[in-house]
């Protein structure tokens, strides 16, 4: 009997937002069903409903024709559905077999002692079944990301999962590991496992999937068998047929070159990237996650010494890995993608967080000039329209958008010449987004050179004077305003035309 999952007429509303509307989605054992769509299209909401994390408002989930209720993650597991997330949930210090059996270990009959031999044997049997070479006794910390993913999948299969949901599984994998994973997927298909494969990589989808479904704005816009469709068609339906009429105030870039990157390479991250940023210009790097852009940006800022090639800044060649302190002194600023981890100091006040990079410049007679700092802080809060009850408020109590504004306000100093922004509006609401776009435009107006990494195509189109698309660490194409072509860009990012 071929097992089959059907999701019929699924609807979900969050507050006033219609996240999913009348979505039909089916998946059959022995097939890979690719699920694609831009950020916010509804893919992850749909998968969270399947996984029992969210509850559907309307519709029905049927398993082999029988209606089932999935009210909690445990229900999903009971029905044989397993989610493999990008953040893997393994224990590094335990070995492969111990991870797979964690929480349900096999013991020697009638004793409390683990039957390690039997556990290793069962794991080996599973690995053999799928033609995988992995030592069950190897500690997980010694595995690479591809192998870790395999362990996670094997764990799911051994608890009788028949439907595996994989969320951008190749984003952190090397070429070799990708090949291993694809082979594993082919074997799983042959063994009658169903796979929902979330990805933007066209070559992967067309190489491995039987069916592709495209979501946009909470509805399904395309669902076709792979042989009957084309990369072009899939990309077009992701972005929508009606091409956005995009208007940006035209700007003449006349300033001199602030940053010039020449043939920058770091094995496994990026390869031979060349770019210039002029005074007052906004250059946007874009691609899929794993395209190497964050690593590139960090190398420019001096956080990484392991690259070949040259970074010129204000006509000087920069020493690799010279560290953020030097970069800041030279008038460079960086706003990281992970505010809570690298951006803010959570226990400190708004004032202290803003003042941090200015302290060195605010010293008078060996002591910090408090009045000067207060002035800078007040101006920064005003300029960024940050909402805080007082400068003494602890920053961790602010909303994501306001935290991000503070990360920005640190750099609104007159000495700033180059600002690097990594995913500047990640996880931020619409209003804060508008404020942040305004801050960025103001800075550019003032003559600051700005280099942005963004994964959101609409943001890329709105902000960029020039856009560079990256695919797997290589520059694909450079677009200068107004010659932006959204479909071409998306195709570049997805590696259309490449073969895997």
């Amino acid at each position: 009997m071929t097992r089959r999952l059907e999701m019929a007429g699924i609807g979900k509303t969050f507050f006033a937002t219609r996240a999913l509307d009348n979505v039909d989605f089916t998946c059959t054992a022995g097939e890979v069903h690719a699920l694609v769509g831009l950020n916010g299209a509804g893919k992850s909401t749909l998968m969270k409903i399947l996984g029992g994390v969210y509850q559907k408002d309307e519709g029905e989930i049927r398993m082999d024709g029988q209606a089932v209720e999935i009210a909690a993650p445990a229900d999903a597991a009971r029905h044989g559905i397993a989610m493999i997330h990008q953040e893997l949930s393994l224990i590094n210090e335990l070995n492969v077999a111990a991870n797979i059996f964690l929480g349900s270990e096999i013991r020697h009959a009638g004793t409390p002692f683990l039957n390690k031999g039997e556990m290793a044997r069962q794991v080996r049997a599973q690995l053999d079944r799928f033609g995988l070479k992995l030592d069950p006794n190897k500690p997980v910390r010694e595995l690479n990301s591809g192998e870790k993913q395999i362990v996670e999948i094997i764990r799911a299969l051994m608890s009788d999962a028949w439907l595996i949901v994989m969320d951008e599984p190749t984003s952190a994998l090397s070429e070799e590991d990708k090949e291993m994973l694809f082979e594993f997927i082919r074997r799983m298909k042959a063994e009658g496992i169903a796979i929902i494969y979330i990805s933007h990589h066209m070559p992967e989808i067309f190489g491995i999937a039987e069916q592709v479904t495209v979501m946009r704005d909470g509805v399904i816009v395309l669902s076709e068998r792979i042989p009957d469709t084309t990369e072009d068609k899939v990309i077009k339906s992701m972005t929508g047929a009606e091409l956005d009429q995009f208007v940006k105030p035209h700007k003449q870039i006349t300033g001199k070159v602030v940053l010039s990157v020449d043939e920058l390479s770091s094995p496994g991250n990026y390869e031979g990237v060349t770019l210039d940023v002029h005074e007052g210009e906004i250059v946007v790097l874009t691609g899929l996650r794993g395209c190497g852009a964050p690593e590139l940006a960090k190398a420019i800022f001096g956080l990484d010494a392991g690259y070949n090639g040259q970074v010129r800044y204000l006509d000087r060649v920069l020493k690799p890995g010279r560290g953020p302190a030097v970069a800041v002194r030279e008038g460079m600023g960086l706003v990281t993608e992970n505010r809570d981890k690298n951006g803010i100091l959570p226990p400190l006040s708004v004032r202290d967080n803003i003042a941090l990079p200015f302290l060195e410049k605010s010293v008078k007679g060996g002591l910090i000039d408090g009045a000067r700092v207060d002035g800078i802080v007040a101006k920064a809060i005003r300029d960024t329209s940050t909402k805080t009850s007082s400068p003494e408020q602890e920053i961790r109590f602010l909303s994501g958008g306001n935290k991000q504004k503070i990360c920005f306000s640190r750099w609104l100093d007159e000495d700033l010449k180059l600002l690097i922004l990594l995913e500047p509006t990640r996880g931020i609401d619409v209003h804060a987004k508008a404020d942040i776009y305004r801050i960025i435009e103001d800075l550019a107006e003032r003559g600051v050179a700005i280099l942005i990494l963004s994964y959101e195509i609409d943001e890329v189109l709105m902000l960029g004077d020039r856009v560079l698309t990256l695919f797997e660490g290589r520059k694909v194409q450079e677009y200068a305003y107004p010659h932006f072509d959204k479909d071409r860009m998306l195709a570049d990012m997805a590696g259309a035309g490449h073969t895997t």
């Binding site: 393994l90 224990i91 210090e93 335990l94 964690l102 929480g103 349900s104 270990e105 002692f113 683990l114």
Partner: protein, 318 residues
Amino acid sequence: MPDLSRLLREKNIIFVTLALCLVFYLISPRFLSLDNMSAISRQIVPIGLIALGQFFVVVSGNIDLSMGMGSVLFAIVLGVFFGMTGGVALGIVAVIACSLALGFFNGVLVTKLRLPAFIVTLSMLFCAQGLSGLIIPRGQQIFLMGDFFRFIGAEKFMGLYWSFLFLVALFVLAWVVYNHTRWGAAVIAVGNSEENARLAGVNVDRVKIGVFMFSALCSGFAGIMLSSRMGFVQPGLDGNGLLLDGIAAIIIGGTLILGGRGTIGGAFWGLLFIGVINNALNLLNVEDVWHQVFKGAVILAALGANWVLWQSRQVEAH
């Protein structure tokens, strides 16, 4: 010989300890005498019990600072019962009951109220210290005499102290539990990632309460061993010195202070390392004030070398 170089790097604490022994032997040949070896084996028993209890707590990603002063308090509990009844059976039962209760209390505060283990057990350290002084005023002591204390403190079996044999047996038991039971795997999992352990179906709270109960029980045993060896109990005993020696032993033995990694064998060698230093500095008549400084310097040198080697290995791995 790749195997030897690998052994040198990964189990270097063994070689560092042996090298130290050689150095001390060259300074004072008496160091390697049978009598002295035997003395070391007895001196390390209380530290070893602290180290063993602390090992599970640290691997689970926590710390138990109350173990040292706890063992002083438990020794005093034993002394008080001995003074009242003239026997030890009731005293030992009381020590076991009190220590398990303290551990349970620590564990509940850490898991159910989500308080940091550092704060909970630091508070318990002060409480134990205060209670010790309350039970027996400072300057006073209770003498412990009789067959039981002589047996634990001074008698040997085939040339080895019973107390040392007890310690070794406990280490073997702990090794089996750590490496061959669900509980051992669960402790490692919790120390690596509580969230992931919980997702895999591990009862995280129960594991954490368990490690605190075990560490407190170990400090109860340490109190019994310490007081038996000395023949008296008093509130001024250096419980915190004991605690720090125990922590040093497991860290030197390769236990990651952040949790999630460590081996029982390593902890045992770390214990021998601390025991050798303590003993040799006494034997060589190092002045008391310098004793601690030397100990600090030797630990720093050994751990510093370890750290550098570990980092070079990290670089190789990339």
